[in-house]
């Protein structure tokens, strides 16, 4: 039973951490090597593709998706998708996909004459599932070692912890004051086996 309990607790926190890691914005410093467009038919991996209805027909399953190829400042390659999130989840309210693609194409550079950019994105890259992170914005920077402070994430996570803590404390106080005594009463009644149910109703105020 103890293992089950720990399994549930660990699964819960892994889910929360995974959800936040996928949804919150992250920054990569990279050099854009190419931009292209490819037809995508989301299948099992549909969860990891946006399905925002931003004016297009949403009944078709296949569509063309913009991609941005880069080389990161740690010398690995990374491919991003560039999709509208629209009014859906995650709430970036991104509608400027085509403009962003134009900016990305403009910032292309070669290894010989590199133009470094900071790419703000959310999501994961997974080769087995054909999943790509989604670019939110691109801005040019001077060099590959810029220091990025994730203010938004700091603020959001602090707020999240504060709100969860506030709700949790109030819930515990409520439980201790209202639910625990009633449960104890129920236990007492069962112990006495007399069914003194009236005790439940007598507790007022």
């Amino acid at each position: 039973m103890r293992y089950v309990k720990w399994f549930v607790i660990i699964a819960f926190w892994v889910l929360v951490a995974g959800f936040l890691h996928y949804t919150l914005p992250q920054h990569d410093v990279a050099r854009i090597t190419d931009t292209y467009e490819k037809r995508i038919d989301p299948g099992e991996n549909a969860l990891f593709w946006a399905n925002a209805s931003t004016g297009e027909n949403v009944n078709l399953t296949g569509r063309d998706v913009f991609f941005i190829q880069t080389r990161l400042n740690n010398d690995k390659v990374m491919v991003y998708r560039n999709e509208d999130t629209g009014w859906g989840w995650p709430p970036y309210f991104k509608f400027d996909t085509s403009n962003l693609q134009a900016e990305a194409a403009d910032l292309r550079s070669t290894a010989a004459a590199p133009q470094w950019v900071v790419i703000k994105h959310y999501g994961w890259r997974n080769e087995f599932l054909s999943v790509y992170p989604n670019v939110v914005s691109i801005r040019p920077v001077d060099g590959p070692d810029v220091r990025i402070i994730p203010w938004l994430n700091i603020v959001l996570l602090t707020l999240l912890v504060a709100v969860s803590w506030a709700i949790w404390v109030r819930w515990r106080r409520f439980r201790e004051a209202r639910i625990d005594p009633v449960l104890e009463d129920v236990g007492d009644n069962l112990d006495e086996a007399g069914g003194r149910i009236r005790g439940l109703f007598r507790r007022k105020g």
């Binding site: 629209g86 009014w87 709430p91 970036y92 309210f93 991104k94 509608f95 400027d96 403009n99 939110v136």
Partner: protein, 88 residues
């Protein structure tokens, strides 16, 4: 536009739950404070009357209307994020 409608409807439903919870909670906090105030001073008038008057005053107060910010704040946030993501 259907997606926007869905967002607004779901948002409205969720925010209404939050609004109701905060309203009830805030009123209860105020009631408790009034009751404690009366208990300490043992007056004026009867306890029920004192609390009822205090709550009527609270119902008209700005503090209670501020809870409407539960609806307004997320709308402003959506507008701000939309602006920053697409037009900034």
């Amino acid at each position: 536009m259907l997606a926007l409608l869905r967002l607004l409807l779901i948002g409205f439903a969720v925010l209404t739950v939050i609004y109701a919870a905060i309203s009830l909670w805030s009123r209860r906090v105020r009631r408790r404070r009034l009751e404690r105030e009366w208990d300490e001073a043992q007056g004026p008038g009867s306890r029920e009357r004192f609390v009822a008057d205090g709550l009527r005053h609270y119902d008209r107060s700005l503090r209670r209307k501020l809870i409407l910010g539960v609806y307004i704040l997320p709308l402003c946030l959506i507008a701000l994020i939309t602006y920053l993501t697409n037009f900034h």
